[in-house]
Point group: C2
Chain length 206, copies 2
Amino acid sequence: MRDAVDRLTPLGVMVLALLREGDMHPYEMIRLMRIRRDDRLVSITTGTMYNTVARLERAGLLEEVGVEREGNRPERTTYTLTDAGADAVVEWVRRELPRVDNPTEFRIALAEAHNLDRETAVELLVVRRAALAGAHLTLTEGRTHAQAKGVPEQYLLEVEREQAVVAAELAWLDAAIARLDDPDFPWGAPAEPTERYLAQRKAARR
Amino acid sequence: MRDAVDRLTPLGVMVLALLREGDMHPYEMIRLMRIRRDDRLVSITTGTMYNTVARLERAGLLEEVGVEREGNRPERTTYTLTDAGADAVVEWVRRELPRVDNPTEFRIALAEAHNLDRETAVELLVVRRAALAGAHLTLTEGRTHAQAKGVPEQYLLEVEREQAVVAAELAWLDAAIARLDDPDFPWGAPAEPTERYLAQRKAARR
DNA sequence: TGCTGTATAGTCCATGTGGACTAATCAGTC
DNA sequence: GACTGATTAGTCCACATGGACTATACAGCA
C-alpha cells in the first residue's frame, strides 16, 4: 500500500518544501538550492530535477501556473504547490524524522523539521532518541559478540566508527531536544516568510 | 575518462571483496552478506545483485567457473574473481578512503581497508583527517555567516548536527590512526583466510 | 569587430535499482 | 496425508538517476 508520500524521493521533498516559499520554475530551484548548499543533502542534477518536477505534477503535488518567455530564451514553466503537496511534505517529515535507518532521509527531515509544529517535532525526536539508543546497543552487542568469536580487530573498524558517530549523535540529540522544548528557541516560519527568500533571490540575480 | 574502477557501485565492490574469500554464486553472496549485516552498508536486493554480477562479468572483473544443479532446483552459476577484479577492489578502496563526500562509499572503503597494506591505509586516513578538518571548518564558517545574516536557529539544526558528527569522527579517526600505526594492531588477511568464511558458511547451512 | 566564456533553461538516453513475480523443494503440523 | 510456510535460486520490468548534449543571450576583452 505504498502511497504518494512513500514514493517521494529526497529531491522531491526538498522541491515541495522550496515551493512553500513561492512559485518557481525548475531552473530557479536548482540555482537557489545550490546557493543554499542543499546539495550537501541531495545530489542536484538538471536531468533529475526536471524529471522529479514532472513526477510530482503527475502525482498532483504541484501544478503549472504559467509559461513565460524572456526574449528568445527557452520557455520557463513556473510551478506552484498544491494543498496535497503541502500536506505531503509534512507527512514525509513526520515519517522520516524518527527513523534511524536511512541517514540521508533523516538529514533532510531534520532540515525541514520546521514545517512541523514544535510539539510534534520534539515528540518525534524523542522517539528517534530511543531508536538510536537501541541501534547503539545493537552495535555494541554485535561487536563484543564478534570479538568473543575471535574476529580480528581490523574487520571491526567500521563498526567501531559507527558506534562513535552514533554516540555523538545521541549526545547532540539530547541537547537539541532540550533546546527545542524551550519556548525561547525560535520555531516555525518567520514573521515575513518570503523575506529571506527574496533577499537570496536578489543576490542570485546580480 | 571514467574507468572501470570509477564505475564500480558500492555493491559491486562488496561482491568483489567477498569473492576473495572463495568462489560463490550470487544467491550465496546475498545470504552471507545478510548474515554479516553488510546490509548496514549497502541495500541488498536480488534484482540488483544479479544485475551487478552480470555487469562485473562484462567488465572482466569476475568469471563464471561452473553451473551446478541440485535436484530440480534452479541452476547455480558460480563465479570467481579475476586478477583485474582483485586489483579493482584495491584501487577503489584507495580512492574512496580519503574522500569526505559520499559517506556511504567511505564506510565501505573503511570496512574493506584491510585489503590495502597497513602503510597505505594509514597514509590515506591521514589525508582524510586533513580533508575532514577542512569540511568541519567550512561548516563552522557557513554557520557563523548564516547567524550573522540573521538566519533563525531552526534552519541551522541540520548543520549543527553535522558539525557534531564530523567532530566525533575526527576524534575517532585520530585514535584509529594511532592504533593502526602500532605494529601490535593486527592487519591484513588472517593466516587461514577461508577459516572464518567456512565457519559462517557452515552456520548458515543449518 | 570578432572571439571566448558563462549563464539561462532546458531535453534525451544509457544505466542502476528495487520490488514483484516464478517455481521448485523441504520442514513442520494438525 | 494434505496443507502451510519458509528456503532456494533466480527473472523481469517500471522507474529514478545523472551525465551528455542543445541552443540562445550576454559580458568581457583584445
